[in-house]
């Protein structure tokens, strides 16, 4: 999740139930507004119909915020580090 580009349902699967498929895009939309993630439309294969999926990746600013948050959380709650 740190480095790769993922679309909504992959994030839902990676979060092990923390993110729900109904709210993942609302959360991602808010994170994008705050500059934590950036998104682009995937290149859809020509044979497949349907809309292209939106894929997300963390911005350098988002990574810094995550690192800072993780550091604080580790100090406050050592369980978080495990």
């Amino acid at each position: 999740v740190d480095e790769s580009e993922l679309y909504g349902l992959q994030l839902v699967a990676a979060s092990k139930g923390r993110l729900k498929r109904g709210t993942v895009y609302v959360t991602l939309g808010r994170m994008e507004e705050k500059g934590f993630v950036s998104s682009r439309l995937e290149d859809a294969p020509a044979d497949e119909g349907g809309l292209p999926r939106r894929i997300y990746k963390p911005t350098p600013f988002g990574k810094r915020v995550l690192a800072a948050y993780a550091q604080v959380a580790r100090r406050l709650n050592p369980e978080f580090a495990r």
């Binding site: 909504g8 609302v26 349907g50 939106r54």
Partner: protein
């Protein structure tokens, strides 16, 4: 058969901005369509059905968030002023009308009540009756004065419609249940006040007055009218 979510997307496209479509609606629909295509390719009919259902649920969750956001945050600043003004005028008008309607009855009761507590209770019981007339009149006055000479965005109209609909539901609850209960309590308390002034009357006895039509809830009215209707029908059959 069209790809899942096509109709929902077309519906959302009518109401949502381009940014909302790109950031919230399209990703949900796209995921659903790709998952559905995978299930169909794998020959898993049940999974395909489940993807359709879960996709609709995900869409409805996003729709709720978008509607909530539209109602609270995205109103144009000038329109928010208009809405606030309308609500303020409606609130003041409702309060004044309610007070005006309750005042004559309260004035009359003030000479008969024995204590301040009883008078305050009577005023409280009178409020729903006055509010039942004051609320719709105040609301109409507020909307007419608040929106006079102002151009409002469709979104603000939607907020108004939601507010008015919520007020209508509140008025229905008021008329259907709260008002009859308050009327009955008012009658019983007034009767007790009368007994207090009668020498020898035992005012400590519990007072149980039979409810008239003004003191019946909606369900009570239905029960009584259905009994009356059944009795009339039986009488007609007999004669």
């Amino acid at each position: 058969m069209s790809a899942p979510g096509t109709r929902l997307r077309a519906l959302a496209n009518r109401f949502c901005s381009r940014q909302t479509m790109e950031r919230l609606i399209d990703p949900v629909i796209a995921d659903q369509q790709h998952e559905y295509a995978d299930a169909v390719r794998g020959g898993d009919a049940w999974r395909a059905r489940w993807v359709r259902v879960s996709g609709c649920l995900a869409f409805s969750k996003v729709a709720v968030v978008i509607i909530g956001r539209a109602l609270t945050q995205d109103a144009v600043t000038e329109d928010r002023g208009t809405i606030g003004r309308t609500i303020r005028i409606a609130g003041v008008a409702t309060t004044l009308l309610t007070a005006l309607l309750a005042a004559p009855q309260l004035w009359q009761q003030s000479t008969q009540t024995s204590s301040v507590a009883a008078f305050a209770l009577l005023a409280l019981y009178l409020l729903p009756q006055a509010l039942a007339i004051g609320l719709p009149m105040g609301l109409v006055f507020g909307v007419l004065c608040g929106l006079r000479g102002r151009t409002t965005a469709p979104r603000s109209w939607a907020i108004m419609v939601v507010l008015v609909a919520a007020s209508s539901i509140a008025a229905l609850g008021l008329l259907g249940w709260l008002l009859p209960a308050a009327n009955q309590a008012f009658r019983e308390l007034s009767y007790r006040q009368i007994l207090l002034h009668r020498p020898g009357a035992d005012y400590r006895q519990p007072i149980l007055l039979k409810r008239g039509f003004n003191e019946l809830t909606i369900t009570g009215c239905f029960q009584r009218t259905s009994i009356s209707f059944t009795s009339a029908w039986r009488w007609r059959r007999r004669h």
